[in-house]
């Protein structure tokens, strides 16, 4: 089949959103399909919202047998065989309207714009032959705001066969962007409360603010720098595989995230348990307490307790790691399942 994968981006800004498209492309090509990637620019400015939406309505991809659309406004591209793999709305006009992020006033003009956007989006969703989302959270939002059903299709990681388990060491590892809502600071706070020699390894880049410095300073204040390995830099895929293969377990405790996040799935492929918190949102769709990981309250003492538990009972940690793989299968987090869904 000739398949066009469509998404939007901001030139020169790289992020997780682009990966899923490229990985899907690789999988589809491997399965013998012809794939074209369509990335078009778009910005958030409310003044130009509908003008850009019109641009996407004019795109003609009739050369493709099927199109798969990811980020808005790509969902607006018309096509008789349109599949959406919906990642998120223009959230400032949806669930983040009543948040400090909005940035524009809650006045008649912008409320009208919001209403108009909801109508246009809903019409575009109804055009789709099938809608997938990347998590239950997003599916729920889609139904609440636009009255359409989205089936959850979990994004797998690229070439999951790369991950392996060599041993269960002493480190609990968190490989994720160093950002406030990923809450690495909570992990740092937990360290002084640990009673075992368990160690913490924080790897990842920041997003341009001083959060990484804050982490470093915090560890200093708490006197636990010697328990922590800080790697504030880009971690290559190869390094990631190595680190996960040797660690005791992975920790991923973002606040109220939409999806489970790649870090959880990567750890599961490496047969490692995932330590997470009760308010991590989508992560809990993957991690079940005591089955393939530990779910605790988002406070330092509880986290420390969980870390100690993993350290003390390696076999339990290993068992949970083994079950993690099964959980991935149960949830259909695989490229096979993705291809079946997209091409069905």
């Amino acid at each position: 089949m000739k398949i066009a994968l469509c998404s939007t981006y901001v030139p020169f800004l790289y992020g997780g959103a682009r990966n899923i498209v490229e990985w899907l492309e690789a999988s589809l090509k491997e399965a013998g399909h012809a794939v074209e990637r369509i990335y078009l620019p778009e910005t958030d400015d409310p003044e130009f919202l509908f003008q850009q939406m019109a641009a996407f309505r004019w795109i003609d991809l009739s050369a493709a047998d099927r199109i798969v659309c990811f980020r808005p406004q790509s969902h607006l591209i018309p096509h008789p065989n349109k599949i959406l793999w919906f990642i998120h709305h223009k959230r400032l006009f949806y669930d983040l309207w009543d948040s400090p992020y909005r940035g524009f006033p809650d006045d008649e003009k912008h409320r009208s714009l919001r209403e108009a956007l909801h109508r246009a989006d809903s019409a575009a969703f109804r055009e789709a032959r099938k809608i997938f989302t990347n998590s239950k959270v997003v599916s729920d939002r889609l139904m609440a705001f636009n009255g359409v059903a989205g089936e959850v299709l979990y994004p797998p990681v690229f070439q999951p066969g790369r991950f392996h388990c060599r041993k269960y060491g002493d480190e609990i590892v968190c490989i994720a962007r160093l950002e406030h809502h990923k809450r690495q600071h909570l992990l740092v706070r937990a360290m002084p409360f640990t009673k075992t020699p368990v160690r913490l390894r924080l790897c990842g880049v920041g997003s341009g603010n001083d959060y990484p410095d804050q982490l470093w300073n915090l560890a200093g204040e708490l006197g636990c720098r010697d328990q922590i390995l800080f790697e504030n830099r880009w971690i290559s895929e190869q390094e990631k595989v190595e680190i996960l293969s040797d660690c005791l377990a992975a920790a991923y405790i973002p606040i109220n995230e939409d999806s489970y996040g790649y870090p959880s799935v990567e750890a599961a492929h490496a047969r490692k348990a995932v330590l997470t918190t009760t308010d991590s949102g989508g992560v809990l769709e993957l991690v079940a307490d005591g089955i393939n990981g530990l779910v605790v309250e988002p406070d330092a003492v509880a986290l420390a307790g969980a870390m100690d538990r993993l350290y003390l009972d390696r076999q339990e940690a290993a068992r949970m790691g083994e079950r993690a793989g099964g959980r991935l299968r149960d949830l259909g987090i695989s490229w096979d399942h993705v291809l079946k869904s997209i091409l069905g």
């Binding site: 019109a54 008649e108 246009a120 109804r126």
Partner: protein
Amino acid sequence: MNLLVFAPVIRSSAIGRMAALVVRALAASGHEVSVVRTEKECFSGSATHAFACRPVSWTDRSAVTALAGSADACIYQIGDNEEFHRGCLEWMPRFPGIVSLHDIFLGHLFFGWAEGRRDEAEEILRFWYGGAAAEAFFPAAAAGDFIEQTRSVSPMTEWICAMARGVIIHSGFGAERVLASCPGPVYQVPLPVERPSLLADRPEARPAGDGRFRVLTVGHVNPNKRAESVIRAIGSSKTLRATTVYRLVGKVSSARRVHLVDLAKASGVMLEISGEVDDADLAGALAEADVACCMRWPSLEGASGSTIEAMLWGKPAIVTNTGFYSELPDDCVIKIDPDDEVASCRAALELLQREEKSRHLMGKAARAWAEEVFSPGNYASNLIRIAQEANRLRPVVSVLEEAAANLRRWGASDALLSLGETLDPLRALTGAPPDAAGGEQAAHPA
């Protein structure tokens, strides 16, 4: 919502009176309303209706710009009188908004506006009505039968509606032209009229003992109001001649007055011509009337404020069976056949004069119906609804305007502006399903 209403405010404007009612109702519902008065400057000293706020003059550029720039919607009261609605025409292009369309025929408004803009005016005529109509328009204005000549061929309704973001019409009359030319929503909402205050709310009250059958016609005394036919009708009936006093309240030219007085004398009819009166005297006239005679030919208005007023006063009305009037309920008014006006009118008057009970019942039915339908609150809430709907369509309309602007800049012909390949994909942006028969967006010369 924060609204800016453009309207005439002087006493002699019935539209101004309606606007005041609506503005008060909007304010009462909690909306912020400002008013821009739209009459020719020479009227600025005249007495005005009571608005909830002090109106700003349409010539005060900085004030109007500031108000319009910050308003959630602008509302324009449009009627066929250039001297009263001049300010609307000035500001509509720059701050498009919702139009309350009081008249379907806007020939006089257009004619007044066209002064000093002949070429532009002819282009507009040509665009909407073709070359022949464009050529005939100005000569017809010079001749005496301007309305007759132009109302069906070039009523100028489209000229105004194409500039609006939404239009409220007050009856089904003329709806097709409005729908064909307005790029936004069109609502039909009954014209609001003030309910008479409770004190005067005594339809039975009238000067006792004089046994007269009082027939009243309110409004600017022009041929369109058919005063001559009424006089002839009364004059052709012995019983009516004996009992009826026909009173005309409203502006009247001296020539016309003389003509009607002479006609009444010759027909043996008791005629009272009161000229323009103040609100109190008008209320008195309505209170003591037995019947309101509201015939029109031709029908030019979207709706008739004076007819509705009479109904709110609980008076049976005689109307011509056309336009807005033909939509009035049959148990509230008597409808006259315009092709047999005098005889038809005479029969109606005779019936009403003879049957006092029926008269009262009809009046009561009229009042009940009018109170329910013509409330300012109802109009105000519809105004808010249409303004919100127009605002919601704004993003898509902007896109179309932007596309048209781009294409025009590239020298596009009208045909290129309306290609299906360009317009069809945009339909979904309004929320409509792809195969919905959406209204055709008219490309207009603005």
